[in-house]
Symmetry: C2
Subunit: 134 residues, 2 copies
């Protein structure tokens, strides 16, 4: 069902500082930060060859990563995003296996303009999983 | 410097249960678990198309993931492993940028039989980073 790891998202308190660190210490070039106000994050992508790292900084008071950073002020790995071919079929399979879909269970348009769902981390060994239909 | 994401490691309390979950709910096939007693883990690999997920269960009292699971009993994302071409050059660049290498700073032979180093998570926004020379 999963066809590819689209990205690993890392929440950071200071995107500019994190981007500089990835550039100087790890030798990879983050993209220019984009403010996605409808998603409550500012994001920079880091191409690491076969997949992407998404550095996420909270934007606005209702940012979905605000609580995570309150618990982890220095930042941390926030979620994994896997690609699927058919997000409705994927959701129905997951529900039939007892996995919980966050929110109302319907796909939303994600930060890449594609349908996404998030799965409850308690059902996947503490890992927040995003599914994206590509 | 980073050339590829080799794997995402997820610590789990029960590898058999986690492997079954990935198979039934996520539709991917974990490898047969391997006990790596010299590394203190039992591991199963999950091919997700462009990279791997490594499911890690502690093995023995001195397991390097024991403390993580004590803090996160349900499991969680433990580290990211990136490939580099020259691990000594990578280490020297990181040290010159002020990043801390765990242990004595010398590469060790990792779970894949290749030289690896771990970087201090406090230097990378709470993310434990493994570098592997491939």
């Amino acid at each position: 069902m999963l066809t590819r790891l689209n990205h690993v998202a890392i929440a950071v308190p200071d995107l500019k500082a994190a981007a500089a660190l990835y550039r100087t210490a790890l030798g990879v070039e983050p993209s220019v930060p984009q403010a996605l106000s409808e998603h409550g994050v500012t994001v920079a992508f880091v191409d690491v060859g076969n997949t992407k790292i998404e550095l996420l900084e909270p934007l606005g008071e209702d940012s979905p990563i605000r609580a995570f950073l309150d618990k982890n002020p220095a930042g941390g790995m926030h979620h994994l995003c896997y690609e699927v071919e058919d997000i409705i079929a994927a959701r129905d399979r997951l529900k039939s296996e007892g996995a919980r879909i966050l929110g109302d269970g319907e796909p939303k348009i994600g930060a890449h303009g594609k349908p996404v769902l998030f799965l409850h981390p308690k059902d996947f060994n503490g890992t927040l999983i995003e599914l994206e239909q590509v």
